[in-house]
């Protein structure tokens, strides 16, 4: 039986400039996005005809086009995605494909693709939707001959079917990935072995995975469970802890604490910050606990490093070359921030009572083995609040 798959990637909410943000299905977890993992899962189930439909506004770098050259990538704007999908559906039907699996990302699920297709054939339904206890998962198997059903389904963005569809119940691991909180829970599930996603790289100590060419300063602290991606950089005195994932080519600057957070690829996190319960990347910061997503425009706080390796090397060389002259310039010409006290209170100039020679009574009492009580002129050096 010939089976093909259509995967739909819809853009996230638009930012202040009107550019669509990268959807959660394209955010990387331990080096691979949900889209990459879904394609790999389909290929493991021997599906070779795979088409991915993505919004034209999404950045090229967000899609793993170069990794999967056998996959057909369709980039169209807005609603045209669904019209284009109808055409592709017809093409697959003409080319002898029997069943087409439509997947709307979204949700990450570990359902058994082969079992879903077997169920679809056994039930002899035209359309079969995979569902778990929380509802549909966005995986729909359709007979290639049912073009009207497919057209209805696609015009409703895979939300509704023309006729009653069969339901394939599954209790496989799934995560709806509706919010950044879901994304973080998927990362945590990966760390805690609750799903098939596992941190890549070498486990240098229990619960700490580091990929090739990651650079970690010797004074940085990585506390398990944590993941440092390929070519990521953790600078001096930084702390990475509590299921935090620093994805590939990300950079955490000196003294920053990353706690229960994900730093997406090519993201620069500035020095001395406290990054807790967030997903940061693509110029945005999603706070899981506060349930807000904000745009950070200050590159000193959160920035993006270039994806081009030669440019990164050039930038590093330039900053290295400029380091000594800059320090010299600052030492010679920068204004001093040290302030001279202009009017000191008179009490500052006076000698502390504690520096006075001990009074006669105290000297006498010091010779006695156990003084009964303190002398009356004993100075109280410090006093706090109302004590």
């Amino acid at each position: 039986m010939e089976v093909a798959a259509l995967i739909f990637v819809e853009p996230g909410a638009a930012d202040s400039a009107g550019t669509p943000s990268v959807p959660l299905a394209l955010w990387e977890i331990f080096g691979k996005s949900v889209l990459t993992r879904t394609i790999e899962r389909l290929q493991r189930s021997s599906l070779t005809n795979i088409s991915v439909f993505a919004d034209a506004g999404l950045p090229d770098s967000a899609l793993p086009e170069s990794t999967f050259s056998a996959v057909k990538w369709v980039r169209v704007a807005g609603e045209s995605i669904w019209r284009e999908a109808e055409n592709t559906f017809s093409d697959y039907g003409h080319n002898g494909v029997d069943t087409i699996l439509a997947i709307r990302l979204g949700a990450y699920t570990e359902l058994d693709i082969s079992d879903l297709l077997r169920f679809h054939l056994d039930q002899r339904t035209h359309v079969t939707m995979a569902c778990d206890a929380s509802g549909p998962l966005g995986y729909i198997a359709i007979d290639s001959g049912r073009r009207n059903d497919a057209a209805f389904l696609m015009r409703s963005r895979l939300q509704r079917t023309r006729l009653a569809a069969g339901q394939y119940p599954t209790n496989a691991y799934s995560n709806r990935l509706n919010t950044p909180k879901d994304f973080r829970s998927l990362v945590q599930d990966g760390f805690l072995s609750r799903c098939e996603i596992r941190p890549a790289g070498k486990e240098i100590k229990p619960g700490v995975w580091v990929e090739d060419r990651a650079r970690i300063h010797r004074s940085a602290r990585i506390l398990a469970p944590a993941y440092i991606g390929a070519r990521a950089r953790v600078r001096a005195a930084a702390v990475i802890t509590r299921c935090s994932a620093i994805e590939h080519h990300a950079e955490v600057d000196c003294g920053t604490v990353v706690e229960d957070a994900s730093v997406l690829p090519y993201t620069f996190v500035g020095a001395g910050l406290d990054i807790a319960h967030v997903v940061v990347g693509n110029g945005r910061l999603a706070h899981v606990a506060r349930n807000v997503e904000v745009e950070i425009t200050d590159p000193r706080l959160v920035g993006m490093t270039t994806r081009s390796a030669p440019l990164r090397a050039l930038s590093s060389a330039a900053s290295l070359a400029a380091y000594l002259p800059l320090q010299l310039y600052r030492g010679l010409f920068a204004p001093s921030h040290r302030e001279q006290p202009s009017q000191l209170p008179s009490a500052v100039g006076e000698l502390s009572p504690a520096l006075n020679p001990p009074p006669q009574a105290l000297r006498a009492s010091a010779q006695t083995p156990a003084p009964e009580q303190f002398p009356a002129d004993f100075a109280v050096a410090r006093r706090y609040g109302d004590q």
Binding site: G270, G272, L273, D274, I275, A276, V278, L285, H287, R290, V292, V294, E295, I296, T297, D298, R300, L301, G385, D386, Q387
Partner: protein, 155 residues
């Protein structure tokens, strides 16, 4: 409730606080910062964006005010401002209130415990032992939300 005689200045922050805006804002509030024991509330209602320069400006204001034994409080933080202040660990340096009126009210509610006891005992002329006094939760120690400011929690 004991009312402080000194005025509380409520200053609305601009929508975007970047380097240029921060400098301009600092110039505006300089006279207030240099007054004796200044009491200032920064109202963040309109703030949509704040960057490192804005955080630096807040810290500068805090430093100036502390030198003069005053205080700066923040009110009505927008989600963006709250996230940036939390990220830069600045939020723990300031008292943050839900609204400007809450922040203003909190100034009148503050009196050190020692001063309150001094007033209480001083007026009656008795040197009472604190343990023998009736327990007084005192409305002066509580803000409008019924929560004692950090400096007010009695030992």
């Amino acid at each position: 409730m004991e009312i402080s005689s000194r005025p509380v200045v409520v200053k609305h922050m601009p929508e975007r606080i970047n380097l240029k805006q921060a400098k301009e804002f600092l110039r505006e509030i300089q006279p207030f910062l240099r007054s004796d024991r200044p009491q200032i509330v920064f109202d963040f209602t309109h703030v949509r964006q704040i960057d490192a320069a804005g955080v630096d400006m807040l810290l500068h204001c805090m430093g100036e005010v502390m030198k003069r034994d005053g205080d700066v409080k923040l009110a009505a933080l927008s989600p963006h401002a709250a996230v940036v202040l939390e990220m830069t660990r600045t939020d723990r340096l300031f008292e943050v209130y839900e609204s400007a009126s809450d922040a203003v009210r909190s100034f009148s509610g503050f009196l050190p415990n020692a001063m309150r006891e001094h007033r209480r005992w001083g007026t009656s002329g008795e040197a009472a032992v604190p343990a023998q006094l009736p327990l007084d939760t005192g409305s002066t120690t509580l803000d409008s939300a019924g929560v004692a400011p950090p400096g007010e929690i009695a030992a």
